[in-house]
Symmetry: C2
Subunit: 470 residues, 2 copies
C-alpha cells in the first residue's frame, strides 16, 4: 500500500496524469504474458525522463517500495508481474529512437521503443540489428535488454547481450550511471553493461541503451528439409556445423508442432513427417548459394525425405512467419499454454528431443517441441488447462524432469526466456548453492533494500532435485 504522502510525492515528480492507482489501472498491469500468474501492483507510474526515474527510485528506496520496470510485458517467466506489490514503471513516454549513428554503426534508444520499430528504422538505412525474439512486434528494447532476448538468428549472430554497447542505468539508490560507450573495446572496470543485460530489472532501471549494428546482409535464402526420423534431423544440424557452415537460422519443428502450425497458418506445411528443419542463410549472394547447396547435400545424405528451397521472398517469409507463429498456434488448442525453453549443447539435441517425448508419454501430456536447433534452444510447449489441477500437477512434474534432463546434458533451464518467478525454484539446479550465493552478493551490494523487482530470479524455496527415471 502506498501512503497518501508517497502518492503526492510521486504525482509531484511525474505529474498527476502519469500516476494511477485505481483498481482498473492496477489490474491491467497485474499480469504479463506468463500463463496462470497474476499479482496486483499498488500503483502504475510513467516517468518522462531519466531524472524522473531517479527521483522515483530514490523515493521508493527510502520507503522500501518495490519497483517493477515493464515494457510490453511479453515475457514468459512472470518477470514483470508485481509479485510483491509496489510500483509498475512504464516507459510509454520514454520510447524514442534517439540516434542512428552511421559512422560508428550504433543506434541509441530509450527503453520503451518497440523492437520491430527499431529494426525497421535501422534497416531503412541499410543496417542490421540481428536479435529477433518472436515477440518483436510488441516487445520493447528495454524488455529485450533486461531479459537478454534471443531469437531465430542467435546461432550465427548471437543474442541481445552481444549488441549492447552502452547503458544508462538508474541504480537502486537513485544514482544515474553510464556504462560502456560507442566503443568496440573498453576494459575500464567491471563489465557492468553485460551484468545489467539479462538482470531482469533486479539491479536497477535501464533508461537508455546504445546498440551495435552491422551491415545488412546482401541476400537471404530459405530452405525446408523434411524427415521421417528425428535423429536424422538432429544429426543434420550437427553435420552442417561440423562442415563449418553457420546458417543464420536453423529451426526445428516436430510433428505435433507441424500439425498445429499448419492448421493455424494454412501454408501447405507437410504434416505427415516426423520433423522439419527450417534453414536460412544470409550474406553475399555467392556465399549463400554455395552454403545452401552444401546444406541441401547434407540434408539428403542424412536421409531427408524432401529438401526444398523457397523460390520467392514471399514463400520464404511465409515459412519463417509460420515458425514464429508456433506459440500462437499451440495456444489455440487449449486454454493454457506452457512454453518452456530448456537449452542444451547443440550436440545433445537428439537426446533432448527424445527425452522430452518420453517424459510427455510418461505424464500423459501433449508436448509440441520446436525451437532453435542450431543453438540447442528448444521450446517444449504444453497445451493444457490451468483449471484442471490434476493435469497441471503432471505438467509441472514433467517440466521439472525436462529441466533436470537439460542440466544432465550440460544445458540450462532457460536459454532466452529468463528466470523471473517461474524458473527461480530451479535455478539452483544449474548454478548450485554457491553460484546463487555469488549472485545474491551482487544483488545485495547493488540493491540493499531489495526494491528492484523483488521476488524474481532468487526463489524463497528451491525445488529439490528429482530422481529422474527414464
Amino acid at each position: 500500500m502506498l501512503s497518501n504522502d508517497v502518492k503526492q510525492k510521486l504525482k509531484a515528480i511525474v505529474g498527476v496524469e502519469n500516476f494511477e492507482d485505481s483498481k482498473s489501472a492496477c489490474l491491467v498491469y497485474s499480469y504479463d504474458a506468463t500463463p496462470n500468474f497474476q499479482s496486483m501492483p499498488d500503483g502504475v507510474i510513467s516517468p518522462r525522463t531519466t531524472q524522473e526515474v531517479s527521483e522515483i527510485v530514490k523515493l521508493c528506496n527510502e520507503h522500501k517500495i518495490p519497483i517493477v520496470p515493464r515494457g510490453s510485458g511479453s515475457n514468459l517467466c512472470g518477470g514483470t508481474c508485481p509479485t510483491e506489490g509496489g510500483l509498475v514503471l512504464l516507459f510509454r513516454h520514454m520510447n524514442k529512437i534517439l540516434e542512428i549513428d552511421e559512422e560508428n554503426l550504433t543506434v541509441t534508444v530509450q527503453p520503451g521503443v518497440v523492437t520491430l520499430d527499431m529494426i525497421n528504422a535501422v534497416e531503412a538505412k541499410g543496417l542490421f540489428y540481428p536479435p529477433d525474439p518472436s515477440s518483436m512486434k510488441i516487445s520493447t528494447m528495454g524488455g529485450n535488454i533486461n531479459e537478454n532476448s534471443g531469437g531465430l538468428r542467435g546461432l550465427k549472430y548471437g543474442v541481445t547481450r552481444d549488441y549492447v554497447m552502452a547503458l544508462e542505468v538508474v541504480l537502486a539508490n537513485g544514482d544515474i550511471i553510464r556504462t560502456g560507450g560507442k566503443l568496440a573495446k573498453d576494459v575500464a572496470g567491471y563489465d557492468l553493461t553485460r551484468l545489467y543485460v539479462g538482470s531482469e530489472g533486479t539491479l536497477g532501471v535501464i533508461t537508455e541503451a546504445t546498440l551495435k549494428l552491422i551491415p545488412i546482409p546482401e541476400t537471404k535464402k530459405t530452405m525446408l528439409a523434411l524427415y521421417q526420423d528425428l535423429e536424422a534431423a538432429a544429426k543434420t544440424v550437427s553435420k552442417i556445423i561440423a562442415n563449418k557452415i553457420i546458417p543464420s537460422t536453423l529451426e526445428f519443428l516436430d510433428q505435433p508442432t507441424l500439425k498445429v502450425v499448419e492448421d493455424f497458418a494454412q501454408i501447405g506445411l507437410p504434416t505427415d513427417v516426423q520433423a522439419v528443419l527450417l534453414i536460412e542463410q544470409d550474406g553475399p549472394a555467392e556465399v549463400v548459394e554455395k552454403d545452401m547447396k552444401k546444406m541441401a547435400e547434407i540434408c539428403h545424405a542424412e536421409k531427408a525425405v524432401s529438401v526444398k528451397v523457397a523460390q520467392t521472398a514471399e514463400e520464404a517469409e511465409a515459412l519463417t512467419t509460420a515458425r514464429r507463429a508456433a506459440l500462437s498456434a499451440c495456444a489455440r488448442l487449449k486454454p493454457t499454454t506452457i512454453l518452456e525453453d530448456a537449452t542444451v549443447p547443440r550436440s545433445e539435441i537428439a537426446k533432448m528431443v527424445n527425452g522430452i517425448n518420453k517424459i510427455a508419454e510418461k505424464y500423459k501430456l501433449d508436448i509440441c517441441t520446436f525451437g532453435h536447433a542450431g543453438d540447442g534452444n528448444l521450446h517444449p510447449t504444453c497445451p493444457t488447462d490451468a483449471r484442471n489441477h490434476e493435469e497441471m500437477e503432471r505438467v509441472e512434474e514433467a517440466f521439472a524432469e525436462i529441466f533436470a534432463l537439460a542440466i544432465e546434458l550440460g544445458g540450462t533451464i532457460t536459454g532466452e526466456h529468463g528466470v523471473g518467478v517461474m524458473k527461480a525454484p530451479y535455478l539452483e539446479w544449474k548454478l548450485g548453492k554457491e553460484g546463487i550465493a555469488a549472485m545474491q552478493a551482487i544483488k545485495s551490494g547493488l540493491d540493499p533494500n531489495n526494491i528492484m523487482n523483488p521476488g524474481k530470479v532468487f526463489a524463497k524455496d528451491s525445488r529439490k532435485r528429482l530422481v529422474v527415471t527414464r
Copy 2:
C-alpha cells in the same frame, strides 16, 4: 609476511616443491611487463588442481593474505604486480588444453595455456579463435580472460569477452562455481561469465574456461595504403565502414612509428609518408576479392598516395608481423617505454591523433601513435627514461591530457590493457563516483576481505580532472 604456520599449511596443500618464498623467487615475480613498477610478494605458489586453488584461497581468506593470480605477466597495467604483498599464484601446472569439441565448436582450457599454442591447436582442426593480443606468443588464456584482451581482429570479430562461454571460478571464500556452458543461449541468472572476464583477478581465481570457436576463414588478403595526410587516413577508416565493409584488420601507424618499425624490421616500409593503413580482409575468396577492390577504391578516393596488395602470404605476414612489433621497436629507442591505449569511437580517430600530436608538442615529448583504427583503439607510445624525473613528470601530465581528451570524445581510458594500478587513478573520469561505487559494491559483495588482487582497479586516490588546454 607469511607466518610459519601458514607456510606449512600452504606446503601441505601443494607439496613443498610448489611453494617458494626465497628472496630470489619472490624477486622474479615482483614485476610484470609494466615499466617502472615493482613490488615484492611474500611467496609464490603453483597449485596443481582447482581443489588446491580452493584450499589456498580458503586459507588466505582466513588470514587475509592477498592473492595475485598470474599467467605470463605480459600485461601493461601493473595488473599482476603484488602491490600489497601476499601470494603470487602461478598456473604452470594448470596449463592443459582439456578438450576441442568439434561438434559444439568449443575449446576448454586451463588458465596457464599459452594463447598461441591454443590458437595453433584449434587451427590444426580448421577452427578459429579470433582474439589475437600482440603478446599472444607468451600470454596465457587465464591472463587474456582476466584482462579481456583485444588485438588486431577486434573490429570484425570482437574481443576475448565475446568468446568466453563458460568458466570455473574459485571465489574469495574458496567456493568453486561453474558459470555458463557450451550454450549459445543461457539466461539462468546474472551473467557471471562476463562479469569475471576483465575483472583482473579481483573477484576470484579463474581455473578453467570454455571458449567459442568459429570456422576458420577460407582465405585472407592484406593491403597497405600510404597517406601524406593524417585526416585522409582517418577518413578512409570511416568511409570503409560507412560502405558496409567490416575488414578483419584495419591498423593505423603514424610516421614516427613507421620509422622505428622499419628501422627494427627492415621490410621496406615507407618512412616518408605521414600515415599508413594496414588493411586485411578474410572470408570466402569471392567476398575478400570484392571487398579488397572496393577498399582500394576508397583509399584512392581519399587521396592515398599508394595502395598495394601483398602478393604472397609471406609478404602479408611480414606486414602484420611488423605491426605487431611496433611496441618492441619503440622499446629500442630509450630505456623506458610508456604505451597507452586510450580508445575513442571510430569517428573520432582523426581528432584523437591530432590531439595526441599537439599534446606531445606541448610537453616536448616524442610520441609514436599506432593502433587499431577500425575500433578506435589507439596506442600512443612514449619512449622515455624513468631515471629522468623531470621528463617522467611531463610524460605523466601528457598522458593525463590524452586520457581526458579520449573521454571528451566519448572514449575510454583503456581499450584492451586493463586498469590495474596504472589506470586506477583515472577510472573515475570514465565512470564517475557513482559508477565506481557500483563496482565497489560488487567487489565487497564477492570479496569482503579484499584478498583478491587488492590495490587493483580501485585507486586510493583519484586524479583530479585537469583543465585541458589545447
